[in-house]
């Protein structure tokens, strides 16, 4: 157990370090802004004095290390800074803009994950068990195509069929506070379907590869030669060893979800954090962009970290040290 604990601790430290490194990168965003930036944020009415005051407010006159520490300190207290947009008139804290949207995005991601994961694992298992069958080849061609085409094409095809030709759903998923769960689920149906399509394709292919990898090991042949029943071979012999790879697949796909969500939210005008980030980039609202980036990156790193740790914890060589 000692080696196991040490390995996990090492991974945790590594993850923490990654997050720290990311925060430095994100923080430097402000550093590299072109000189005329303050003027462009404040608009045409800016005078040299107001520009100077703005720079001072951002702390651009302080040394970078001090500013970084202050920024991190703020983050830890939930202070994500102040949005640039309309700051001359009504300054809005970034947290007020981002956090409600984050909730919406998490809702979308959770529903997608709940739908896509079981389907993908099941299809992946089937494709691996019936390798090179007609079913396998069909699924293979379908998933390869899904991965190769742009996400917005999948989205618009789904809109075309399910919202335009057969108007069963709305093509816009404008959630608002106070809706019931059923109403929300109905509204997110199309984005969830689109995301699921893309993610199932990825996850299924990786599941298939992982299971085929395990099934071709000599100990699986040995289990068969020992007369172990087929379902027993799968569940007792293959699955314990495939667990690590499969969790990896899931984490990877969920991490993929984090990115895929940006385009899909824009297509369906979904009030999530991806949409918010795109708008902020367009308006060069740096504090909001920074907050969104951090949220995406931390989610991404955490998911990968969890996958790593599960893979380590299910590895018998580490579980039972020599």
């Amino acid at each position: 157990m000692h080696a196991l604990g040490r390995t996990i601790l090492y991974r945790l430290v590594l993850g923490l370090f990654s997050i720290l490194a990311v925060s430095v990168v994100v923080f430097s965003a402000l550093e590299f802004l072109p000189g005329d930036f303050a003027a462009s944020v404040l608009g045409r009415s800016a005078t040299p004095e107001t520009v100077a005051a703005f720079r001072q407010e951002l702390g651009l006159d302080l040394p970078p290390v001090q500013r970084y520490l202050a920024w991190i300190g703020g983050l830890l207290h939930g202070d994500l800074g102040t949005s640039f947009a309309g700051r001359a008139y009504t300054p809005r804290p970034v947290a007020d803009i981002v956090l409600p949207r984050l909730g919406n995005t998490l809702f979308l991601a959770a529903v997608t994950a709940a739908l896509a994961t079981p389907i993908a694992l099941f299809l992946g298992l089937l494709a691996a068990l019936y390798r090179n069958s007609r079913f396998d080849r069909l699924v293979n061609a379908l998933t390869l195509s899904t991965i190769a085409i742009p996400e917005f094409l999948v989205a618009y095809l789904i809109i075309l069929v399910l919202a335009v030709k057969f108007p069963l759903f709305y093509s816009m998923s404008s959630l608002s506070p106070g809706m019931t769960l059923a109403e929300k689920l109905y509204l997110v149906a199309l984005p969830v379907l689109t995301l699921s399509f893309v993610i199932v394709a990825h996850m299924m292919r990786m599941t298939r590869a992982a299971i085929i990898g395990v099934l071709s090991s000599p100990y699986i042949e040995m289990a068969r030669l020992k007369g172990t029943r087929p379902w027993h071979v799968i569940f007792r012999h293959a699955l314990p060893n495939a667990l690590g790879p499969i969790v990896n697949v899931i984490a990877f796909s969920l991490a993929y979800l984090v990115v895929g969500v940006v385009v899909i939210e824009v297509v369906f005008v979904y009030p999530g954090i991806g949409q918010t980030m795109v708008d902020a980039v367009r308006n060069r609202d740096i504090p909001v962009v920074q907050a969104c980036t951090l949220i995406f990156a931390v989610t991404y790193i955490t998911l990968n970290l969890v996958a790593d740790i599960v893979a380590i914890a299910t590895n018998p060589r580490l579980l039972h040290a020599r």
């Binding site: 000599p218 030669l225 172990t228 029943r229 012999h237 060893n241 018998p316």
Partner: protein, 555 residues
């Protein structure tokens, strides 16, 4: 356990395997019968179809293979006509299997005992308690250390020789009528192999189980089998009782299976000066590690062969790499042709690099798959002799003649050569540099006997004509006999014994040399019996064997 009853009858078996969309014949019309309690040895070189045939005895074919025709009658039932479930019910219970690599064939996720009793418990042949008790009993019979607790361990926690015995226990657990052993000791060192062989033989004999014993080593199978069948290219070459097969093999091919054993290098009578001297050499992988080499001293005579013999973990390859300049010793001195040999590769000049050549064990990884034979052999000529154009081509052709391939092989890629041809090209690249010392690292180990013989003879011929010295690393005693003038026996990083071939093979020996020489199977049917009688039965030896197995690194 009555004597004459036929247990297994395989008739006109044809098995095909698919590659690149074509079906090739792997087993071609083989008939095989086995009586109850009889042990049949199945011998052949790589690709002879012996494993495929062995698996067919369980009614099993590997993915990508199919049974084209034939019957497999086991105890009156035609295995091929049974349902999948019925076949599955026979496996592990009445017919079981012991695989070559125990380390890969045990599931890493479960403890050994659980895997041993799995079939019995799943089939409800015994309750879990009885099954466990029986397994422990068998562990004891098979001379495993700590039979009560070894089952709680996981596969990676147990050495290769022990794992192989646990796998035998697993195969015997349900009291089968037939066990197929597929090269169970091939991956083991000889001193480990002998204990595993003895345990398997004792256990199989005691319970009167019939067995098919598959191996490429006729000397091993001679100890185990009543009858031997020789396979080649999927066909039966010869079949006879063990004694007859050894005394009077009818087929030329059968004789070639022990080709290397017939070779013996005549003793050199003329004196020779030392070419390479090693003194007080220590080596460890980084600080705080155990010494991989400990105070090694030896001399390679000019124009002769020094064989460095030892088991895995003895440090023999590391020693070769130090001479080549790939590893840097912690301390010690190397003298080459009267001058100090710089330990680091960077400190050796071009001429020194040329004079010492290393030939790697595996030609598959030593030859760049994207280079033609000509490019491979010509490169040392370009680098060391500045040969270009026609002169270079002419010399390459000469070298190709010297390795008995000829210029027509020049345009081939390594993938278009057989294993033996590749190894010849690998050697030619070394020879092309015109070395004085050639380090040969197990260059014949992975090859079939006949191919080995050819390469050993070629090496001897090259030595006679070029006067090159060999630093020949091997684990195989018959190879030592075939090529060595001087021998160094190594064990766990230390030199155990040094001497001329005659001195080493004649008693008295150091204790380890004795063990090593004694453990190498000989071509006599009663060799193992005599060896054990001399040494005492396995059970009493188990303390000693535990110690050895603990040290082996075969997992």
């Amino acid at each position: 356990m009555s004597g004459d009853e036929t247990l297994l009858d395989i008739r006109d078996m044809r098995i095909e395997g698919e590659s690149d969309g074509q079906w090739n014949v792997l087993v071609d019309g083989v008939d095989l019968t086995l009586k109850r309690g009889e042990v049949l040895g199945l011998v052949g070189e790589s690709g002879a179809g012996k494993s495929t045939l062995g698996l067919a005895a369980l009614g099993y074919v590997r993915p990508g293979c199919r049974i084209a025709s034939g019957d497999i009658i086991f105890d009156g039932q035609d295995l091929l006509r049974l349902s999948d479930a019925e076949r599955c019910g026979l496996r592990g219970h009445r017919i079981s299997y012991v695989a070559q690599s125990a380390a890969a064939s045990f599931n890493p996720a479960h403890a050994l005992l659980r895997q041993t009793i799995e079939t019995a418990v799943q089939r409800r042949l015994m309750n879990a308690g009885a099954a466990r008790k029986k397994a422990v009993e068998q562990f004891r019979e098979l001379s495993l250390p700590d039979p009560e607790t070894i089952g709680r361990r996981y596969p990676h926690q147990v050495s290769g020789g022990q794992l192989q015995r646990v796998m035998t226990a697993m195969a015997m657990h349900c009291g089968p009528d037939l066990i197929v052993f597929d090269e169970p000791t091939t991956a083991l060192d000889v001193t480990t192999q002998i204990d595993v062989l003895a345990s398997i033989r004792e256990a199989v004999e005691a319970q009167g189980i019939a067995a098919i014993y598959i191996t490429h080593d006729l000397a091993v199978v001679a100890q185990m089998a009543h009858r031997i069948m020789v396979l080649r290219h999927g066909k039966v070459v010869e079949e006879a009782s063990t004694q007859r097969m050894l005394d009077a093999p009818q087929n030329e091919y059968t004789r070639s299976l022990w080709a290397v054993r017939e070779l013996a290098k005549p003793e050199e009578t003329t004196p020779s000066s030392p070419l390479l001297t090693i003194e007080g050499l220590d080596f460890s992988y980084g600080k705080g590690f155990v010494k991989a080499l400990d105070n090694v001293a030896l001399t390679v005579p000019r124009g002769r062969t020094l064989a460095v013999v030892g088991e895995s973990g003895s440090g023999k390859s590391t020693l070769g790499r130090i001479v080549a300049g790939l590893n840097v010793p912690t301390s010690g001195r190397l003298t080459f042709d009267g001058a100090a040999l710089p330990p680091r590769l960077e400190h050796r000049n071009k001429d020194l690099l040329r004079r010492i050549q290393l030939v790697h064990q595996s030609a598959d990884t030593a030859l760049n798959p994207r280079h033609t034979v000509r490019e491979i052999i010509a490169r040392p000529l370009e680098v060391f002799f500045d040969l270009r154009g026609e002169a270079c081509d002419r010399r390459t052709d000469e070298l190709l003649d010297m390795i008995e391939l000829g210029p027509r092989f020049a345009t081939r890629l390594p993938s278009e050569l057989s294993g033996g041809q590749k190894q010849r090209v690998n050697i030619a690249r070394g020879i092309a540099a015109g070395p004085e010392l050639m380090i040969c690292d197990e260059v014949t180990s992975a090859l079939d006997q006949l191919v080995q013989e050819g390469i050993l003879k070629m090496l001897l011929g090259l030595q006679a004509s070029l006067g090159v010295s060999y630093f020949f690393i091997t684990h195989d005693i018959s190879t030592v006999r075939a090529i060595a003038d001087e021998v160094v026996v190594m064990h766990r990083g230390k030199v155990v014994e040094v001497g001329s071939q005659r001195e080493i093979f004649a008693p008295p020996h150091e204790a380890y040399t004795e063990l090593l020489l004694g453990s190498a199977p000989q071509m006599r049917a009663d060799w193992l019996t005599e060896f054990l009688a001399e040494r005492g039965p396995v059970a009493r030896q188990h303390a000693q064997s535990t110690e050895r197995n603990g040290g082996s690194t075969h997992v």
